[in-house]
């Protein structure tokens, strides 16, 4: 059972790690979670990023956050990736599958997946 005792144990394990995390946060992944995003399938996209960051142990350098409607509803689910000293990358019409690919190639590999970005002509 996922008990409060187990939560307490997780807390104990985390305390050191979290102290380290506060100093960094180089990459920020922002998922649009307004009605337009939710209706287009943003919830599984967000959770794919959250789980992917956890599974790959990227918590120290990557944060996943939510935002409201950014005004391009027809392209939802929209995901923005902010990285220090780099231009923002905007991914459009995302899915959980594409999120895993972005995590692998862009977040871990450093190369944006251009065919899923808003600049790609075939969207």
């Amino acid at each position: 059972m996922k008990s409060l005792e187990e939560l307490l144990a997780i807390k104990a394990q985390m305390q050191e790690k979290v102290a380290m995390r506060k100093s960094s946060g180089d990459i920020r992944i922002v998922v649009g979670m307004a009605t337009c995003g939710i209706a287009a399938g943003a919830r599984p996209v967000l959770n794919a990023f959250v789980e992917g960051v956890n599974d790959n142990g990227l918590g120290a350098s990557v944060t996943v956050t939510q935002t409201g409607c950014i005004g391009i509803c027809q392209f939802e689910p929209v995901v923005e990736v902010y990285e220090k000293d780099k231009e923002k990358v905007t991914y459009v019409k995302m899915t959980a599958e594409k999120a895993k690919e972005v995590l692998e190639k862009h977040i871990k590999g450093g190369k944006p997946v251009t065919e899923y970005t808003i600049g790609a002509s075939n969207i």
Binding site: K2, L7, M14, A34, T35, A39, L46, E51, G68
Partner: protein
Amino acid sequence: MDELSLYVLDIAMNSVRAGASRILILLEEDEETLKFSVTDNGCGMTKEQVEKIKDPFFTTRKTRKVGLGIPFLTMLAEGTGGYVNLTSTPAAEGEHHGTKTEALFYRHHLDFIPLGDMTETVKTLIQGSPDIDFVYRHKTPIGEVSLDTEELRAVLGDISLSEPEILAWIGGNLTEQYQNLRR
């Protein structure tokens, strides 16, 4: 949107944007109906705003000109013979301000859509707003599932609820509660 849990997420997001510090999500099921309510202590709305809220061309946001959440929900609930009820007290009118949105669905109607994954909805809300107190209760004829972030916070101290490890625990806890119900 093809599951009710997405509508619950969308309505609860309104509470987040209303600046609530506490949001109660209550689901009540019986043989005939499913009712959910989202109650917050956010900024609330004036009578005029509440009247306009079912109009899809009304919104307070600035990035697009139409509001979609409540009209979508109303269409869906009324389509099953149910209703959406919205009550609100604006902050200007006193201490006990906030909004309650309640939706009732008839489960046996052809246009009723499944509840879907409430665990994902609760996780998404906590991930996005780890400092808000969420109380989640789902009452069914065979038992109840509940989660109160205030209790978790008491255990966690200064560790954020949005930490991936904690979210994983929350997901696991709710999943287990639902599995125990079905047993």
